[in-house]
């Protein structure tokens, strides 16, 4: 993989890979001349070499690095109020902070950040989590300030970002540690208890002296107690909660089975009875706790991944101080009247009034893929992105009242209204458990009347034989298997409970810009007006090379030509010199009339059009294929977009979609969802923009694209990585398979119990036979669930 400008062949910055402008800074580093696109990249490279970290360029697996932008003063972070909730006491004095890091591309970046920060005196600990992009910092405030550390980070081109929820990282850490401790107790305790149980089991001839037997039993009791009450606490607490809510479910079943085995063994130990089942109680807790831990870890990783993808909520905003210098602050502290600088390519932190002419990409808010020109004095929305030139903004509304915040509130309301639906399978489990418990109670009472000596044994046999594992182990296993299989295909589960809804969906509501389409303009056609031919395209790419504008990607890399004196005039276009001649690239009178994108040559005051370019937002390469697969699965497709109706109609025609709507705002999309729901359809919504968030939150099941707005990802049930639309039909097919497996498991569980329960109730099944039956049944059911994990490459459908 090319990792230097030279290897790539075209003129690119050695640090960040962007095209080089005419007067590119040059440095000799490590004996080789290097070229950079700006002084920021040059400074970063110099820094990297100076600290002996040049291996970064060798280690990285792609030709990209974040471009150091306007390095502002992070002084506002030292002792800031809004930082307080995030700070912790470090081990051994000092402070600790967990941050998100924006701009990390691969393992080499993590390595670079860690090495650079740990090299600063005063830093106790700097750990970068690869998968979630989190940085854990511990430092001694008396030797180095936080602002110095953040500046070091920014010099390399990475941006520190505060995670949205200060407590979340801490809570997750505490919970993880508690899980590990409980697992350790359960594992060690049950293995030790098994040791004693084995000795007791192997005493087939009953030759063990009673004193020894009792001693072993008491030791087993000693070891099992912490397992049941400390490691098994989540199940006991869960049972208490469920019984309070009068909805007995998995936890009740697990806890009652465990307690029955434990207390029964205690009674038998005191009575000097025939059998004890301490090992069963301990193993029960161990396996089910392990299953729960794995499930939890999966969900925590998915959350971390979403945070990393979203780049976290808050990027520091660059606010002007009274003396005109810039400081980096948390956008939440901005008040009306503050002036901020927003570099091109970064989102506006809040609603405000523009102080300069600008072109804004509002696609994440409205779905319009083409930038909108706005003049100085006009209002702009927080969340829109300036293209071409940086923008100065006077804040009008605090960020929590911005348009984006309103969308976030709409989404949150919709999410809350959806409520805890829960899966159908879980509801069946609840019914099942209630029935079993009632029957067991009846049988227990009956036996107490008939032959009290056997009452307990029968009760235990009934509770054990009913194979709670069919539900408590198999359902989570099935779910974890599918979630893992989907994660491997790049579909991340935010709400695994929505698997059921995903399987039952029969209507798809797609957003257009950024979802079905690339979201960025692409060059579709060139109309040559004067016979310049390929020259025209080369000139246009040279002009577009230096700016952060969608056109740069549309025109591609130039053939080495350099453009000089390039100016970007918002609303009009680019002007510059290429090879001595002045050219303009833009719309309208700027290029001699018309509203198509044109390249024109400027001679004094004469503007001569040379070529016209058709630039539009094409559908994604796999969109047609994905839609065909979805139709084959029996789903109806509908497009709801905020873009202009003419463009939506064009895309719909290309993809063969009959029902489409254009110019939709967030409220309109919600209304459409309600209409479809009233018709009895079960809707899967797919979108990427902040304006899709309310729709994604309200739909039965929804999917957001990882490349879209972070707000949409937080409102959806699933996140699609890499914008691979063909994974959507795969996900649905897998979800349906999941439903089938779960139905099979339930059928088996009920069938098996219908036979086993009566036998147990009548006293024909000894507890050991019950344990055997339970083990065999659990194995069968878990193996069935594990089928979902299999890499079904050609498994009867779209498995690819």
């Amino acid at each position: 993989m090319a990792t230097t400008g030279q290897e790539l062949g075209t003129a690119r910055c050695d640090h960040c890979g962007e095209p080089l402008p005419a007067a590119a800074p040059r440095e000799v580093l490590a004996g080789e001349p290097r070229h950079f696109c700006c002084s920021g990249c040059a400074a970063a490279a110099r820094l990297i070499h100076r600290h002996g970290l040049a291996d970064f360029y060798r280690l990285r697996d792609r030709m990209e690095a974040p471009r150091p932008g306007a390095v502002a003063d992070f002084g506002a972070w030292d002792g800031a109020e809004w930082l307080e909730p995030h700070l912790r006491r470090g081990e051994g004095g000092g402070l600790a902070l967990t941050l998100g890091v924006g701009g990390m591309r691969c393992g080499a970046c993590a390595w670079l950040i860690r090495r650079r920060l740990e090299g600063i005196p005063g830093v106790r600990h700097a750990a970068v989590e690869l998968i979630t992009g989190r940085l854990h910092l511990e430092w001694d405030p008396s030797r180095v300030t936080l602002s110095a550390l953040l500046a070091a980070l920014a010099e390399l081109g990475y941006s520190p970002v505060l995670p949205g929820d200060p407590g979340a990282g801490e809570r997750e850490r505490t919970e993880h540690r508690r899980f590990l401790k409980r697992l350790a107790v359960a594992a060690l305790g049950s293995m030790q208890a098994m040791m004693f149980a084995e000795a007791l089991y192997l005493d087939l001839a009953g030759a063990m002296p009673l004193a020894t037997r009792d001693a072993f039993r008491w030791f087993a009791f000693l070891l099992t107690t912490p397992v049941v009450f400390y490691a098994g606490w989540p199940f006991l607490a869960g049972m208490a909660r469920e019984l309070r809510q009068r909805a007995p479910a998995m936890d009740t079943l697990i806890a009652s089975g465990t307690l029955a085995a434990y207390l029964g063994s205690l009674i038998e130990t005191l009575r000097g009875g025939l059998h004890v089942w301490y090992d069963a109680a301990a193993m029960f807790v161990l396996f089910l706790l392990a299953a729960r831990y794995l499930e939890w870890r999966q969900r925590a990783q998915a959350r971390g991944l979403v945070d990393a993808i979203a780049g976290a909520e808050f990027r520091p905003a660059l606010r002007y101080r009274a003396d005109g210098t810039l400081e980096a602050v948390d956008p939440r502290v901005l008040v009306p009247g503050d002036m901020v600088l927003v570099p091109s390519g970064e989102a506006l932190p809040a609603d405000g009034r523009l102080l300069v002419d600008a072109e804004l990409d509002e696609s994440l808010l409205t779905g319009e893929p083409h930038p909108v020109a706005r003049r100085a004095g006009e209002s702009a929305c927080g969340g829109s992105v300036p293209v071409g030139v940086a923008v100065r903004l006077a804040i009008e509304r605090p960020s929590d009242q911005s348009t984006r915040a309103t969308l976030a509130r709409l989404a949150a309301r919709a999410l809350a209204a959806r409520g805890a639906e829960g899966e159908r399978a879980e509801r069946i489990a609840v019914g099942f458990v209630s029935v079993v418990l009632i029957l067991t109670l009846i049988a227990c009472l009956a036996w107490i009347l008939i032959e009290p000596g056997r009452a307990f044994e029968v009760t235990l046999a009934m509770l054990v034989v009913t194979c709670p594992c069919a539900l408590t182990l198999a359902l989570p296993t099935a779910r974890s298997s599918v979630v893992a299989a989907l994660a491997r295909r790049g579909v991340i589960a935010i709400q695994p409970g929505s698997l059921d809804a995903l399987a039952r969906a029969d209507h798809l509501l797609f957003d257009k810009t950024g979802t079905l389409s690339e979201g960025a303009p692409k060059l579709l056609a060139v109309r040559d007006l004067t016979g310049m031919g390929a020259e025209a395209l080369a000139v246009a790419s040279a002009l577009a090379a230096g700016i952060a504008h969608p056109w740069r990607d549309a025109f591609g890399a130039s053939d080495g030509r350099q453009a000089e004196h390039v100016r970007y005039l918002p609303g009009r276009g680019l002007e510059g010199r290429v090879g001595g001649t002045r050219y303009r690239l833009g719309h309208g009178d700027f290029v001699g009339g018309g509203d198509v994108l044109r390249l024109a040559r400027v001679d004094g005051s004469a503007i001569a059009p040379i070529a016209e370019f058709e630039v539009d937002d094409p559908p994604r390469k796999d969109a047609a294929e994905a839609l065909a697969a979805l139709r084959a699965l029996g789903l109806d497709i509908e497009i709801a977009s905020g873009d202009a109706s003419s463009r939506v109609a064009r895309l719909a025609r290309r993809l063969g979609v009959a029902r489409w709507h254009g110019a939709m705002r967030a409220e309109d999309k919600l209304a459409l969802l309600r209409k479809r729901r009233a018709e009895g359809r079960r809707v899967l919504a797919v979108g990427d923009g902040a304006n899709d968030a309310p729709l994604l939150a309200a739909a039965e099941v929804s999917m957001a694209l990882a490349e879209g707005a972070s707000l949409s990802q937080r409102s959806a049930d699933w996140v699609l990585l890499g914008a691979r639309l063909s994974r959507i039909p795969e996900a649905i097919w897998l979800a349906r398979r999941y439903r089938r497996v779960v139905a099979q498991n339930l059928a088996w569980a009920i069938g098996y119990n219908l036979i086993a329960l009566p036998f147990a109730a009548l006293g024909f099944i000894a507890p050991w036979l019950a344990a055997l039956g339970m083990a065999a049944s659990s194995l069968a059911v878990t193996a069935n669930s594990a089928r979902l994990l299999a890499r079904a490459r050609a498994g009867g459908g779209e498995g690819r």
């Binding site: 070499h49 002996g52 040049a54 291996d55 280690l59 081990e91 750990a127 690869l130 401790k181 030790q192």
Partner: protein, 59 residues
């Protein structure tokens, strides 16, 4: 039998020590990140830069 009277409490004591050590390690944060260490062997450590590499500005 006498041996067991000694050995079993001894093994329980060892078991408690092991558990206590594990608890200490968990609280010391040694198990907080179970994913990143897997990537460590893949990182090359650079050769120690004995002195600062020559940096020239070329303008």
């Amino acid at each position: 039998m006498n041996a067991l009277l000694l050995l079993i409490p001894l093994s329980l004591a060892l078991f408690s020590v092991a558990l206590a050590a594990f608890f200490w390690a968990v609280d010391a944060g040694q198990f907080d990140d179970l994913d990143s260490p897997a990537f460590r062997p893949l990182e090359d450590e650079p050769k120690a830069a004995a002195c600062e590499p020559a940096v020239e500005k070329d303008r």
